[in-house]
């Protein structure tokens, strides 16, 4: 039985769209969704999601994407713990646990639900068996000894690849964990940049691995914050070895490099930063198409053009309408056959700019080819303090292999979209 029935797409007003069609909208019981993952079992498509402001995880049956149904919600550790991130592969669900508001000042952390009177939190990564898709069974818990983990990578098999704050470190580092015995997850190796260990002098700018550490063959692609985009050779998983590092200097928010996704067949990668401050107070954020034909010398070929409102819009500048405006997430396939591959069409969430679609056939001249921007949310969900002004804030994205696009926002539930533009191939 569905926990919550599908809602009318009328709940979501379309403000601007080109080559993108609204398929469905579901508020998920007024719990905005964040990181999403998908598995197909017996012909049914299950979307697993963490939540932006709420504890726990939700499973949405999206077999019929025009009628998504919430089929399960369950709670995670509650005290001072974020449960934002999920990944599913090989019948296993990996959920991140992280201290709420690690990087925020205490007043802001309190708005996210941090209770300073209880100086504890849960941290690490939980490993669940989801072969019975609606009955997650906890198999094990990897502890970091630090603040926990953020965006992790798992594509099945023996190893999960974490962006983890281990004991003794100032920020998140890369940790490979063997989960062949999921009840006893075991660290295989770790890799950090200079200045992350608490027993060494801090660097002027603290770097932190945002993740996921995206693994392609024997390489790990690390979005390493202020340390830029890092490529490691992990052919020996016990000894990760640096192949190359691409600095983005003072571009981007305090976050630095947020995503580093390889497009292996094209010997390319996509590098993104994430807008952090509202009203464009960050140093300019960017998304770059990278040439990795020589993996030891990564080189930016182009930067995606900044979105400009169309004539349909009631405003002339996204940057001036409030909230954050800048890149955040791209779709990451995690080598799952139920997820879309990244071809010549790049989908990017852009906070107040909604969803932006780029034709990247010519990596030197990427062009915007479509977009979807909803109207302003009609209410604040839970207790968010952001955006200060209530405008769309598109956060995360996942695309299934049927072409249906799932999007999360700070004040909207699950939005399902579909690209209707020309076939770009690839």
């Amino acid at each position: 039985m569905p926990v919550a029935t599908a809602e009318s797409t009328a709940a979501l007003r379309v403000h601007e769209s080109k080559n993108v069609e609204l398929v469905a909208y579901h508020s998920l019981g007024k719990r905005p969704n964040f990181k999403m993952a998908l598995q197909v079992v017996d012909g049914r498509w299950y979307l697993y999601t963490g939540h932006f402001w709420h504890n726990g995880w939700t499973i949405v049956d999206v077999t019929d994407p025009y009628r998504p149904e919430v089929v399960k919600h369950w709670e995670g550790p509650k005290v001072n713990t974020w449960t934002l991130q999920v990944q599913v592969a090989d019948g296993k669900l990996i959920t991140a646990l992280e201290k709420i508001g690690t990087w925020l000042d205490p007043a802001r952390a309190a708005l996210w639900g941090f209770d300073p009177s209880q100086p504890t939190w849960e941290e690490g990564a939980l490993i669940w068996d989801v072969k019975s898709p609606l009955e997650p069974r906890l198999l094990g818990h990897f502890h970091t000894g630090g603040f926990g983990t953020h965006r992790n990578f798992y594509d099945g098999g023996r190893y999960m690849h974490l962006a983890a704050n281990m004991e003794g470190y100032r920020s998140n580092i890369y940790v490979i964990v063997d989960i062949s015995d999921p009840a006893n997850p075991r660290e295989v190796s770790r890799w950090a940049v200079k200045g992350q260990r608490r027993d060494e002098p801090a660097e002027p700018q603290l770097a932190s691995l945002h993740g996921p550490p995206y693994v392609e063959g024997d390489r790990a692609w690390l979005s390493y914050g202020r340390a830029g985009a890092v490529l490691l050779d992990i052919s020996d998983v016990t000894k990760p070895r640096l192949v190359s590092q691409f600095s983005i200097g003072d571009f981007g928010s305090i976050m630095g490099c947020h995503t580093y996704l390889p497009l292996k067949e094209r010997k390319m990668a996509i590098l993104t930063t994430e807008a952090i401050l509202e009203d464009n107070r960050d140093s300019a954020n960017l998304v770059a198409l990278m040439d990795l034909s020589d993996e030891t010398k990564p080189r930016a070929m182009s930067i995606l053009p900044t979105p400009i409102p169309s004539e349909q819009a009631a405003y002339t500048s996204y940057a001036q309408r409030g909230g954050k405006f800048g890149p955040h997430n791209i779709h990451m396939p995690h080598h799952q056959s139920c997820l879309a591959k990244v071809g010549n069409l790049l989908h990017l969430t852009y906070f107040a700019g909604g969803l932006r679609l780029y034709d990247i056939r010519d990596p030197y001249q990427p062009r915007e080819i479509g977009y979807f921007v909803p109207g302003d949310p009609q209410e604040r969900l839970a207790r968010p303090y952001l955006p200060t002004k209530l405008v769309p804030q598109y956060e995360d994205i996942l695309i299934d292999s049927r072409g249906f696009i799932y999007v999360g926002d700070r004040n909207y539930g699950l939005t399902v979209l579909r690209y209707t533009g020309p076939d770009l191939g690839g």
């Binding site: 197909v40 009628r67 879309a340 292999s401 076939d423």
Partner: protein, 328 residues
């Protein structure tokens, strides 16, 4: 690239007017061994199904007692396949394991294949399955002389179903065989009377599961008999065997160039390729100007691994295709 999971093959059943498509379809749907399939026809009334046996018809979709689903093409093929997909996942119709698409007798199969290989259709978990072409042995020679569509239907077929053989004279049978030797010597020929044919022969062993997974099955495409030019037509099938593994970048570039320059003359190309760095066989398909995203098969058959490529053309010289293959 990875092997497609959970996909539904779409089999194209083509053949000229009166060549026995509907008779074959009806016989197949009546077989106890037939797994549940969805059948797409141009008009529901065209298919001579006993209407008393149809359990219900709603929104143009009929459900047969066997659990098979029949519908007519609505709006266009892509729309129809999307509707079938959504009705299936909504459980409004019984599940189906394959789709059989019956084309009109005058259809050029090229555009149909282009739709089946297109991104929107592949995204809905459909894969292009085999092309079955019915050939009426009593009229083949006359029809083929007069209608280029009929020649193309035979040229692009993966299998040929020879119908009405019991009604044909030895001369007619020989004439039909001659035409097929010219147009498509490689495709297996299945002789039927009144639509009776074993499902294994028509669709392959293990249908529908094995359709895209067995390289032994794929091998049937590539018997290397060269066409005999006993008829004045411009359709030719050129086949190639390449023993050493190929570089994907070179194959891709060479075939793209060939299709860009001569696509209007290329009815179909299909390849089973051994690519450096990839353990499994890579399946390539092209129709006219478009090379479609490759698929992976689960593994090689027993025989020595080698790449096979068949290019079916209308009106270009062998040397042009030879040069493209040499550049792979």
């Amino acid at each position: 690239m990875e092997a497609a999971a959970d996909t539904v093959p779409v089999i194209t059943l083509t053949g000229f007017l009166g060549s026995g498509k509907s008779t074959l379809l009806n016989a197949v749907l009546g077989s106890n061994a037939m797994p549940p399939v969805a059948v797409i026809v141009n008009e529901l009334g065209e298919i001579p199904i006993d209407h008393a046996l149809i359990e219900n018809v709603s929104e143009g979709i009929a459900v047969l007692p066997s659990g098979c689903v029949c519908c007519a093409v609505r709006s266009d093929l892509e729309y129809t396949l999307r509707e079938l997909y959504l009705k299936r996942v909504r459980r409004a119709i019984p599940d189906f394991r394959a789709v059989v698409l019956e084309t009109t007798g005058l259809a050029d199969p090229g555009p149909v294949l282009q739709t089946l290989f297109s991104r929107p259709v592949r995204e809905l978990r459909y894969t292009a399955g085999i092309v079955l072409t019915t050939v009426d042995c009593t009229h083949a020679a006359d029809t083929l002389s007069a209608y280029p569509e009929a020649m193309r239907q035979i040229a692009v077929a993966d299998r040929l179903v020879l119908t009405k053989s019991d009604l044909s004279s030895p001369h007619e049978l020989r004439a039909t065989g001659d035409w097929i030797d010219t147009l498509n010597p490689a495709a297996p020929r299945i002789v039927t009377t009144k639509g009776n044919a074993a499902l294994d022969e028509l669709f392959g062993r293990g249908f529908p599961d094995a359709l895209h997974t067995e390289s032994a099955e794929m091998d049937r495409w590539f018997t290397t008999a060269e066409p005999r030019s006993s008829h004045a037509n411009t359709i030719r099938a050129y086949s190639y065997s390449i023993p050493s593994p190929l570089e994907w970048e070179r194959v891709h570039a060479a075939l793209k160039d060939l299709l860009a320059s001569h696509g209007e003359h290329i009815l179909r190309a299909k390849g089973l390729l051994q690519i450096v760095g990839i353990d499994q066989p890579v399946v390539l398909q092209a129709v006219h100007h478009t090379l479609y995203p490759p698929d992976l098969l689960s593994g090689w058959a027993e025989h020595p691994r080698e790449s096979r490529l068949v290019v079916i053309v209308d009106g270009i010289e062998r040397e042009i295709v030879d040069r493209a293959v040499a550049a792979c």
